[in-house]
Symmetry: C2
Subunit: 266 residues, 2 copies
């Protein structure tokens, strides 16, 4: 069984994945993002895009109640239903769910975010963000056993029952571990982790267990989150973890065959 | 087992229903609308609200691709996840789904809508609207058997695989028939069908099987659709059909006890 995360950045071609799924024999769970759709919606409605630079080196979208509402519109409304509609049109019985539904993704809410502002550390409270720590897989298993294809998206629900913005890659990783998936594929609009972010030919083809941490240190922006998610799944026993491209023919088989950045026990 | 439709007009208080569900013993399927949320979203984004006056006397929102996208954001994104979050916070394991997911609501798409314009009949083609004609209940039954509470919303998927704007009341009625529900309750911000739309004291307490059609003729706007939905469920064997208020304490038990407009075999 495979867990495939489709990125939500600009320029990701969904057609390739949809086309491939028609002929795929493995059981599959899709997880997707919609960050670009959310950016666009915020801009159209005049809600400023604000990002926290966390002390840990990661970036996080400022998510108050207004942004969370738009988050749900972009992720659960527009993108989730678009993918489900595309799959249904190909005869694939897809079911779209958020992490709130059936508490599929349960998250620890960020009680206080440590951010870096002008080289000073500042505490931000009450942000509606968190990190998926638990997956309740009963509903997913029920769907898979009955030949439905689950299509999942953030937000998650926090342990104190708030819808919260969580990273989709990390949620997919926790899911892959919980489901004991054979593979976790993180597909987006780049070919994998690049040595030099501006050079598509600088693809790092392998990351061995020994140098995951240095890879994590050197990765930037969105890719840093993908490496963190991959590390989590890989270290918790998912045999095949690949960061690859969604924008090629047969993106799933290509990633399974090692196209992209592959995590290896060496 | 009960099918309860919560209206999507302005001023509907969700708290009453959520509070009541904590103590309700019956199995329940919720269906909801979000027309007010969609109106607001269209206005904010500068997409004009346009309504077709159908030859049949009903009104229908003009739904092109852009409006359908916003429809999914308002219904599946904002409102559906809001209700699921509220229920989860009360310990009710809700699962939010649209009619596209698992093809729960299958609709005949309006190939051509006959509208009245200046007393002339005109044909409108390619609108993304339709009417739910079939319910695929397997997924709903699976959820109910496993103690999840399904929370459903339009759009539906058409027989030719397009997401389409369908009436939520009518979809709930087709669902109640398919599930052989004990009752269909259509709850909104009015107390039931009113003799005089401007007088809350003119509630019609009963509609007998003989005078459904005259009730349907005299009803206006949103209420006309509710009466049509109620008629459909009632004539196809749902024993208890009530159009009632969501804005009272214990709205579900009140409707079951006959508060509102009750359909009766007389």
């Amino acid at each position: 069984m495979l867990v495939v995360k489709i990125g939500g950045s600009k320029g990701i071609n969904l057609d390739n994945i949809v086309k491939e799924l028609i002929h795929l024999n493995e059981k599959i769970v899709l997880v997707h993002g919609a960050s670009d759709e959310l950016n666009e919606l915020q801009q159209k409605l005049g809600i400023p895009l604000e990002t926290y630079n966390l002390e840990s080196g990661f970036e996080s979208r400022k998510t108050d109640e207004k942004v969370l509402e738009l988050f749900e519109m972009a992720y659960c409304g527009k993108m989730n239903k678009k993918i489900v509609e595309m799959l249904q049109a190909k005869g694939i019985n897809a079911v779209g769910l958020s992490g709130i539904d059936g508490r599929i993704f349960e998250a620890k809410r960020n009680s206080a975010i440590r951010i870096k502002e002008n080289e000073k550390i500042k505490l931000v409270k009450n942000d509606l963000s968190g990190r998926t720590e638990k997956v309740n897989a009963q509903l997913i298993k029920l769907l898979l056993d009955n030949n439905f294809v689950p299509v999942l998206t953030p937000p998650a629900i926090s342990f104190d029952n708030k819808a919260v913005n969580v990273d989709g890659d990390f949620s997919a990783a926790v899911l892959a571990v919980e489901l004991k998936a054979d593979a976790l594929l993180l597909l987006s609009n780049v070919s994998g982790l690049l040595e030099n972010i501006d050079n598509e030919n600088s693809l790092i083809k392998k990351i061995s267990s020994k140098n995951i941490d240095s890879a994590l240190d050197s990765a930037k922006g969105r890719m840093k989150k993908k490496v963190l998610a991959a590390k989590n799944a890989f270290e918790k026993g998912v045999q095949k973890v690949v960061i690859g491209s969604a924008n090629i023919e047969n993106p799933i088989k290509s990633a399974l065959n090692g196209q992209g950045t592959v995590f290896l026990n060496e």
